[in-house]
Symmetry: C2
Subunit: 308 residues, 2 copies
């Protein structure tokens, strides 16, 4: 389950809590699409903003709605004590793996980051995905730190930020990290605009936010890359450029939320404050980007965008 | 209460929760020292790592132990809903003011940061201190954003990161910000090495981490600055250089925790994981710095360091 396409849905929230029906439908859609795994409660799933109870509930709903498709559940929190509680809840919910980013308030040194993973690894009964996301955690993982952590028991995969756009640099980045990891630990790329580049540079997985709401178009990219069809994978990803541009401008979290609204899959607002939904200009840009893709794409998958 | 010296104690935690006796003694000491206010549950107080229940309890203990000295309570959290709960708890505990930093997981834009303060201001019955700390929140406040927020009802003070070391630049920094604030909103400096420089540059307050554990030596600096004795204030702060150097190397959070241990005021470890206490080298450096200060200081306040 640590290869191929892992799709990260939003966890839509309303004034009353999680919109459970919308969330279950979203996870069910991902499972039906043929994605290799579901990443519940990732950054896109807003885990950092939800209470323990909401997270435990969302984990249960995700596992139930995903059927046979394995579910990875995000367990990060600022305090180790809370992380361990989320691990316990995720395991009880039936998660196949947990995803852990080192959230920070006080900047952490490498020994503290390692110590967090060590404390968690000692309390795990499912595999762990190390989540390296400097944009949200402000932790700079060196390959050496990745190597130390990946040798802990249970570590199955490392989710990395975007690889460089240059293919040679991307391959070097992935090869350099791989040299630090034990055999069998996969590397998954995130930052969706770099999905195709990451897979073509040797990543075994694509941990995707867009796939949470548009799994089919992302699967088309991932399958082309897996088949070694580099040009086709890049072309399919390039068809999504209007969305990658909006991700860069507004953040994928807000854009994916707006896509869900645009396609009638979640109410608005569905993000937890202080995060706000896109304004009218942003919403119109999202609608226009989706229209452009549907109109210009040569991929059969694009038809899924506007289908109910 | 938004002028002079505000002392921010640690909230020592053990495996069982908050070390309440140690915390109450620490707050009592600050109140007895003559500090102008207590800043409970600041960054130094580890608020970001504590549960709602722990924070509500610490707020109550702080107010009780501070006696007549006003207490500001930190209410920050990643989600606005949680911030509002902490505000409610702080007010019920008898806090004289609340301190709010815009914690982030997803990077926030200016409108989202403003929206957070707007939501909180609408639910406040005590004054608010805006807490600008890019090292922990990764929010870059412009003067324009400070100005928008400071015009909300209830805003009483702005806690800013260190001013430049150059006196002219420091004055320009404070004057620039002040021009954006409504009359009556004070500016308080933090980053203890810049305490004297900030006060001498026109800040009305020093929000100090070191004062949480060594209030007397910080008060000596603050009183000299308030009396316009610039040279004396700078000299007294310079006597503390061995500690400022350790703050820069290890972070004030870990160093102040180690000072509390060194002086027998808290057990070790007293920081919430994933944060770890200083290692042996760091601990010895802290002990040596304290010894140097006691030995070389010409200030009567230095004698307080080693007194029970």
């Amino acid at each position: 389950m640590f290869t191929g396409l892992s799709a990260f849905p939003i966890t839509p929230v309303t004034g009353d809590g999680i919109d459970e029906a919308a969330f279950e439908r979203m996870v069910g859609r991902i499972a039906a699409s043929g994605a290799d795994s579901v990443g519940a409660l990732g950054s896109t799933g807003g885990y950092a903003y939800l209470s323990r109870r909401e997270r435990a509930r969302a984990a249960r709903l995700a596992v139930r709605s995903a059927g046979d498709v394995p579910v990875t559940v995000g367990v990060g929190a600022l305090r180790t004590r809370d992380v361990l509680e989320h691990v316990e809840d995720a395991q009880e919910a039936g998660a196949s793996a947990v995803l852990l980013a080192p959230l920070t308030y006080q900047p952490l040194n490498d020994d503290e980051v390692f110590g967090l993973y060590e404390d968690v690894a000692a309390n795990l009964s499912v595999p762990l995905v190390v989540y390296d996301n400097p944009a949200t955690t402000h932790v700079a993982f060196s390959d050496e730190l990745h190597g130390r952590i990946a040798h802990l028991p249970g570590v199955a995969s490392v989710k990395i930020p975007p690889v460089p756009a240059d293919p040679g640099q991307a391959r070097a980045r992935v090869a350099g990290l791989r040299a630090a990891l034990p055999a069998g630990v996969t590397i998954g790329v995130s930052g969706d605009a770099a999905g195709a580049d990451g897979l073509l540079a040797g990543c075994e997985a694509w941990y995707s936010a867009l796939a949470g709401v548009l799994p089919e178009v992302c699967l088309a990219v991932a399958r082309a890359a897996a088949a070694g069809e580099a040009e086709r994978a890049r072309a399919l990803s390039a068809e999504l450029d209007p969305l990658w541009e909006l991700f860069a401008r507004y953040g994928s979290y807000r854009v994916v939320s707006a896509i869900a609204v645009e396609l009638g899959r979640a109410c608005e607002p569905n993000l937890p404050r202080p995060v706000r939904p896109l304004d009218g200009t942003g919403r119109r840009a999202v609608a226009a980007a989706l229209d452009t893709i549907v109109r210009t794409s040569r991929s059969p998958a694009a038809s899924s965008i506007r289908s109910a």
